[in-house]
Each structure stands twice: as structure tokens, then as C-alpha cells.
């Protein structure tokens, strides 16, 4: 049975070209990039080349790219580093209710330690009230952290507009762009973002590498100390193979930039339309025109997500769900709850997330099996009349 992998917001396949680029750095090119000798020095060049490749993907300067170990480290460090750099002068943090826990938990941690934290609500489409955001900011606000794209629904926040508001108010702005980078064009020359997180394994690099973009002039305390690496911001010997891999993945992303807006978006739309058509009592979570091109989150009423996922698994299809049971928690995902998705639907919300490797055959396979699975589970459901 072939695997139909439609869970690319969870993680992606490492591109074969990325593996190829990394391989020498596990073998002959094992030098330390900080060494004085040529053997190590040549490795340094590859690290700096990767930095340029990532900078180009974001339309940033290479000096603004800090390599980290993952998106979570980038998110944590952006918020903690900003707060620490302010040395106790500001005590207010603004974020949103639908952030990834890598952001939300850090904010809540500060909330328990003397900070005022505002978690901005979202409407039924998962969108923010920008006026409310603006009104929330005060002289005491240290940082605003708002995600570029939501991992569960793919909903896009208007990052340029949020950035303008923050700039006007003189507040540092961080965006968790882990889901956005690689799927939509990003141009940081035009988007007033101070700090941005990205994760390698969401864009066909391996797990274990991330980036924190730090705009020139942004005050940020170092987050690992004890070495001069990464402009003294993150000490520790560079993870050379993974940095090189991420650089190559960034380059490939640019080469395939139009895939998402054309082919992948068309596959997503075809899948979505077919499922909504074949399954009554189903609807899309999030606005149709303000989403990532690769993501659809469909609520199937009266059935439970874990059951759907296990049935999909039986026919080789990988997807994910915001249902309570899949996470081991007892409540549906905080994103579904913040959007006010009714319980009848939140527990049965399924996310399909495509990549540039997704084929039309894979989409056909899902369209073939999904309606039958929903029907079978609804036959079991007490909410559906026989």
C-alpha cells in the first residue's frame, strides 16, 4: 500500500537534493567552522553560503539570519530575548489565542511571572480585529507575537498591516512564520517584521534546524551564551550539515515558488470541493481566500476525528485532526475553540496539507475513500438518524 502523505504542515519529506548537499558534511568536510586552519575555514564558507540562501528566500540580509535548532527555539528566543533586552522596563505582551504553543506557552509563562498578557481573540474565520490590536498596545507593551499562517487552518494574518501598527506604536513585532515560509512569497524588505521564526522540516529540510530572523537594529538578548557563533546571539558549534541542508532547501523553495500558487493550490481546491460535495454536513474552517494554498481544514459534523484518521490510515492516507482524542487531551484544539467552531464539528475537523510533491493520484485516492469513511462512522453516530 502506498502512503498518501497529506500531513505536510506536521512535517515534510527531506528533498533528495537536500540530502545530497548535506552528505559531505558527515564525511570528509567535518571541520569546525570557527577554526583558523583551511580545513575548518572551508566549512565556514558553506555555512555562510547557506545563510545567504536563507536570506534570499526571505529578502533579508544574511547578517539578519540566526540559525537555531528548531522553530520552537526561534519562537521562545524571540519573546524571551526581547523581554530580557528591555531589562524590566516593559511588562506587557500581546499575542493571539490561536498561536502555536511554542509562542502561547512562553507568553503564559510570563503571565504567571508578573507580566500582563493580552491574548487577542479571533472571529469565526480565525481572523483578528486589527483595531482591537492597535487599542491594546501601550507604552508598556514589550512585544507583539502573531503567527503568519495558522498550522491547523492555514489562515493568514495580515502581517504587513500588523507590522505597520507595531512600528507606529514603537513595539517589537515577532511573527511565527513556520507554516508560511516555503508556501507563500515572503519579502521582508516590504513587510515590517522585526523577528521571524522558521523551521527547516516544514520546507523539505530535515528536523533539527530552524532560523530566527532578527532585523538589523532590533534589541535582542543572546539566547545561548558561551561562544561567539551566530553574532554572539546563539553560542555553540554550528550544526553544519543541517545548516547547509536548510540553505539548499531554501534555494529549492525559490526554484519551485510558483508550484504552490498554481499546482498545489489547484489540487487543494479540487480535493476540498470534491469532499464538500460528496459529504453532506461538512464545511471548511477558515475563509476561502485568506489561507495557505496547501491547507484545507474540513469539519465533518457528527463524527469524531480520531476515528476518521484511523480509518484513513487503513487506506494509507496521512492527515491530522484538531479533535481531543488525537492529542491525548480531552478538549478540541485551542484553535477550533478560539474560532468558536461548534463542538459537533470541532471534534470531526480534519486537516489535509499538501506539498509540492503531492500528486494528482494521491488527491484521487482521498476523494475515493473519504466519503465512504464518513458515511460508515455516521452510521455509528447517535446524532444521525438511521
Amino acid at each position: 500500500m502506498n502512503t498518501v502523505y497529506l500531513d505536510n504542515n506536521a512535517t515534510t519529506m527531506v528533498a533528495p537534493e537536500v540530502v545530497e548537499a548535506m552528505t559531505p558534511f558527515f564525511g570528509s568536510l567535518y571541520g569546525n567552522a570557527s577554526s583558523m586552519h583551511t580545513f575548518g575555514g572551508q566549512v565556514k564558507q558553506h555555512v555562510e553560503h547557506a545563510r545567504e540562501q536563507v536570506a534570499e528566500l526571505l529578502c533579508a540580509d544574511p547578517s539578519e539570519i540566526i540559525f537555531t535548532s528548531c522553530g520552537t527555539e526561534s519562537d521562545n528566543s524571540a519573546i524571551r530575548g526581547t523581554v530580557e533586552a528591555l531589562a524590566g522596563r516593559k511588562h506587557h505582551i500581546v499575542t493571539t489565542r490561536v498561536e502555536h504553543l511554542a509562542v502561547l506557552s512562553v507568553c503564559q509563562y510570563f503571565g504567571k511571572n508578573g507580566f500582563r498578557v493580552t491574548e487577542l481573540p479571533v472571529d469565526g474565520d480565525g481572523l483578528l480585529d486589527l483595531q482591537l490590536l492597535e487599542d491594546t498596545l501601550t507604552e508598556d507593551t514589550a512585544i507583539v507575537s502573531a503567527m503568519w499562517a495558522n498550522n491547523e487552518t492555514g489562515v493568514l494574518f495580515p502581517i504587513a498591516e500588523i507590522g505597520e501598527i507595531c512600528r507606529r506604536k514603537g513595539v517589537t513585532f515577532h511573527t511565527d512564520a513556520v507554516q508560511a515560509v516555503g508556501k507563500i512569497p515572503i519579502d521582508l524588505r516590504e513587510t515590517p517584521v522585526d523577528l521571524l521564526s522558521l523551521s527547516g522540516h516544514k520546507l523539505h529540510a530535515p528536523k533539527g534546524i530552524g532560523v530566527l530572523y532578527v532585523r538589523k537594529g532590533t534589541r535582542l538578548a543572546p539566547f545561548l551564551i558561551g561562544g561567539h557563533q551566530e553574532s554572539n546571539r546563539r553560542a555553540g558549534t554550528e550544526n553544519v550539515p543541517y545548516i547547509v541542508g536548510l540553505g539548499r532547501a531554501a534555494e529549492l523553495t525559490l526554484e519551485h515558488a510558483t508550484d504552490y500558487t498554481t499546482r498545489v493550490a489547484a489540487q487543494r481546491d479540487r480535493l476540498e470541493a470534491a469532499l464538500l460535495d460528496a459529504c453532506p454536513d461538512s464545511f471548511v474552517n477558515g475563509p476561502p481566500d485568506q489561507r495557505l494554498p496547501n491547507t484545507t481544514n474540513i469539519a465533518f459534523e457528527f463524527v469524531e476525528g480520531e476515528s476518521i484518521l484511523l480509518m484513513l490510515d487503513q487506506v494509507g492516507i496521512c492527515a491530522s485532526s484538531g479533535s481531543a482524542c488525537t492529542s491525548g487531551s480531552l478538549e478540541p484544539s485551542h484553535v477550533m475553540r478560539a474560532m468558536g467552531v461548534p463542538f459537533t464539528a470541532a471534534h470531526g475537523s480534519i486537516r489535509f496539507s499538501l506539498s509540492r510533491y503531492t500528486t494528482d493520484d494521491e488527491i484521487d485516492h482521498v476523494i475515493e475513500h473519504m466519503p465512504g469513511i464518513i458515511n460508515r462512522l455516521r452510521e455509528l453516530s447517535p446524532f444521525v438518524e438511521a
Partner: protein, 282 residues
């Protein structure tokens, strides 16, 4: 991904007795949409008052579907008195076990059965209600339900209680209440809560010795005597309490444990948290 047994997966893929019996003798429905699982159970009795047919419908995860399927297989052909003896453990056992965090699925099966039997006995006039005050407001779980899962499954932590009946799995505001119920069921005095620390004035030595003496008489000696042992207070030196174990205790290999785990714990609880207890060296 959950580690489901093959039997759970088999009952999930091919659940037995799905449906609704028209004109049933008993109907039970438990759970709620908000909680993510609902189980609807109907049964029909034959002339010998045995369960001739039973059917279920469920909204829920794989283990709740499998638990409901297992329940129907377990009770078919039984009298209601026999069926009532089926526990949530029986359901889990029938399925070759459930992941700990999914035990509440088996409890839901047991509760649906009770609701249906109650419905039958009251002539269908009473809608099943579990009495007792609501402990967990997030999931609407009553003290009676918590008490029962604690007793039936020998649970000792809040986390276990959450796994078995969801109580405590939301905001967490009821964890203290659940701890008290656990302590009550197991006959243990609940530990004083952190929220109300009453700063004790420093005791005089005389008062301390008096309290130690009283605690030994009231809390310690009666328990040791049950096991043929005894204890004598030898000296109090600052916070060091020196005692001598007598009778069976003197020769008992568990005496060291008794000394600190029981005698020391009691003295710390009733006199001062700083006390240590030692046995007199001969």
C-alpha cells in the same frame, strides 16, 4: 499514535451490535458532544428476563467504539443482575487492555449500561442522573462518579482519575477536590492544602514534648499494638525524637520503615514538620 491492541482495532473496524432497537425495554445515553464522546444503548429482554438483544450507537474515538462493542458482547444473554456486575475493567480486559488515557471509554460503557437498566426499572420515566454535587464543571463529573472510579479501579492520582472519567482534564480547578475524594476513598487523611498555611508560633520545648507524647498515645501506639508492637519515647533533643521500639516491632524487619514512614510522618504531621525520629542505640 495510540498503542491500541489488535482486538481494539478489530472491534473498531468491525463493531458488533450497531444500531437502535425499536421499542426497547431500556434506553441509556451518556456523555456529551462537548466532551467528544456519546454512547447510546438500547436493549430488549426475552421472556426469561435475559438480554435478548442489545444495540449501540456512539460518537467517539476508536476506543470508545470498541468499548461499546465489547460491552454489548459481554452482556448479551445475561440477566440484568448479572449484567450489572460487568465492570469497566471487564470491558477493558475483553479488549486486551486500553491505553491508560483511554480508560474513560470503558467507564462510559459501564455508565450507559447502568443508565439503560435504571430506565427499564423505572418504567422509562426517569432520565438517568448521577447524583452528588458536580466536582469537575468542565466535564460535568459528580463526586459520586469520581468516588466510584477511584474505588473500582484503585486509583491514587488526579491524573489517573482524569484518564478514567475525564474529571480534572479541563481547567484543573478541581484537582484539590479530586485529591480529597481519593484520600477519603482510601481512608487517608488529606494532606493540609498549601493555600492555607497557618504559621505556627515557635513551640517551647515542654509544649513540644507534650505534643509528641500525646501524638504517640493517640495516633501511633494503637496502630503498633494491633501488630503486637509498642513504642516508648526516650528523649527529645531539639528536633530529634529518640524512641525505642518494643514488642514485635523490636524484631520486625519492617521496623525501619515503620519508624520513619509511620512514626516520623505522624509526628511531623501533628507536631512539627521539622522533626526527625531515631531509634535509641542500645
Amino acid at each position: 499514535m495510540w498503542d491500541y491492541t489488535e482486538r481494539v482495532m478489530e472491534h473498531f473496524r468491525d463493531p458488533r451490535n450497531v444500531g437502535v432497537i425499536p421499542d426497547p425495554d431500556g434506553v441509556g445515553e451518556v456523555g456529551s458532544m462537548a466532551c467528544g464522546d456519546v454512547l447510546h444503548l438500547t436493549f430488549k429482554l426475552d421472556d426469561d428476563k435475559r438480554i435478548a438483544d442489545v444495540k449501540f450507537k456512539t460518537f467517539g474515538c476508536a476506543s470508545s467504539i470498541a468499548s461499546a462493542s465489547a460491552l454489548t458482547e459481554l452482556i448479551k444473554g445475561k440477566t440484568l443482575e448479572e449484567a450489572e456486575k460487568v465492570t469497566n475493567q471487564d470491558i477493558a480486559h475483553y479488549l486486551g487492555g486500553l491505553p491508560e488515557q483511554k480508560m474513560h471509554c470503558s467507564v462510559m460503557g459501564k455508565e450507559a449500561l447502568e443508565a439503560a437498566i435504571e430506565n427499564y426499572r423505572t418504567g422509562g420515566t426517569v432520565k438517568h442522573m448521577l447524583d452528588g454535587e458536580v466536582v469537575c464543571t468542565c466535564f460535568g463529573v459528580t463526586a459520586t462518579e469520581v468516588e466510584r472510579v477511584v474505588r473500582d479501579n484503585d486509583l491514587h492520582t488526579v491524573e489517573q482519575v482524569t484518564n478514567y472519567c475525564k474529571a480534572g482534564g479541563g481547567c484543573g480547578g478541581c484537582h484539590g477536590e479530586i485529591e480529597k475524594i481519593i484520600a477519603r476513598v482510601h481512608g487517608i487523611e488529606p494532606l493540609p492544602t498549601e493555600s492555607a498555611p497557618t504559621p505556627k508560633p515557635k513551640m517551647t520545648n515542654i509544649r513540644k514534648i507534650q505534643l509528641i507524647q500525646e501524638t504517640i498515645e493517640r495516633e501511633i501506639r494503637p496502630h503498633l499494638k494491633q501488630d503486637g508492637g509498642d513504642i516508648e519515647l526516650i528523649d527529645v533533643d531539639g528536633d530529634r525524637v529518640i524512641v525505642s521500639m518494643r514488642g514485635q516491632c523490636a524484631a520486625c524487619p519492617a521496623a525501619n520503615f515503620t519508624l520513619d514512614g509511620f512514626v516520623g510522618a505522624k509526628l511531623r504531621e501533628f507536631v512539627s514538620p521539622d522533626l526527625t525520629v531515631e531509634e535509641e542505640k542500645p
